[in-house]
Amino acid sequence: MKAPTKPYRLYWAQTSPNVTTSDSVATLKVTRKGTIKSISFMLAGVAGNNISGCQQVELSKQSSRNIVVNDTPPGVLAEACLVYGVSAGAACLTQVVPGLDIPVDVGDTLYAHQVVTGTAPASCTNSVQVYVGEV
């Protein structure tokens, strides 16, 4: 049988004033050896009282963020950005990155990091799904 794909999910929800720039807003531990085949970001939230807010989310093998860094180490896996362009309005983003073969091992920890710029949202509910083809 073809090796199965195991979905992992990082989820975090925050409300004001806790939607802030932070390392390791959520983590998960890989339980079986394999390769990441796809990564899916599902970011959503409600803007604060301004139209300039933005939330960058990074998926990484590293425990600290490299979101505003060029030419990052390969432990930085993927990134997505959600903007809040309507004051007090809901916003969302879905982004899929397919066709990957990023090796992971048992015990590896995957981290989500976050940077908030401009006016922070009033609330957010974010998921990152990681699909691992097991060997």
């Binding site: 390769t35 990441i36 139209i51 300039s52 807010g53 933005c54 960058q56 490299n66 979101i67 505003v68 860094v69 060029n70 030419d71 990052t72 390969p74 930085v76 896996l77 993927a78 990134e79 997505a80 950005c81 959600l82 903007v83 809040y84 362009g85 309507v86 983003l93 982004q95 899929v96 990155v97 397919p98 066709g99 990957l100 073969d101 990023i102 090796p103 710029t117 401009g118």
Partner: protein, 128 residues
């Protein structure tokens, strides 16, 4: 075993230019997927920002029938004054060969009113 190595180009420049940021490929392979993640805050309501990923150190953004070293492009517009805007573009299922030592550059063209700020990422996933 085949492995995918992620590379990231990050830049915040809001003006037009060649080679705004670059990365150097460290191992031979082929680019399988490119992700543009562009975001910023508008200055006026007529601004747009075109971003090109290329093996060439100068841009071909407004050129037809470009050489194959021009790899990918994305455009973000800023139609609401002072408001944040974003764009995500994923281009999968590629097979663009790269060699150790190759440089990948991003170039940028601004049309209309420039944004007051921008934060852009281009990720390249290279199978080694």
């Amino acid at each position: 075993m085949r492995t995918t190595k992620p590379y990231k180009i990050y830049f915040t420049q809001t003006s037009q230019g060649d080679n705004i940021a670059s990365v150097r490929i460290t191992r031979d392979g082929s680019i399988k997927t490119i992700v543009f993640m562009l975001a910023g805050v508008a200055g006026g309501s007529t601004g747009s920002q075109q971003v090109e990923l290329s093996k060439q150190s100068t841009r071909n953004i407004s050129t037809n029938d470009t050489p194959p070293s021009v790899i990918g492009e994305a455009c973000i517009t800023y139609p609401v004054i002072n408001a944040a805007a974003s764009l995500s573009l994923v281009t999968p299922w590629l097979n663009i060969p790269v060699s150790a030592g190759d440089n990948l550059y991003v170039h940028q063209t601004i049309n209309g009113t420039a944004p007051t700020s921008s934060l852009h990422t281009v990720q390249m996933y290279v199978n080694e």
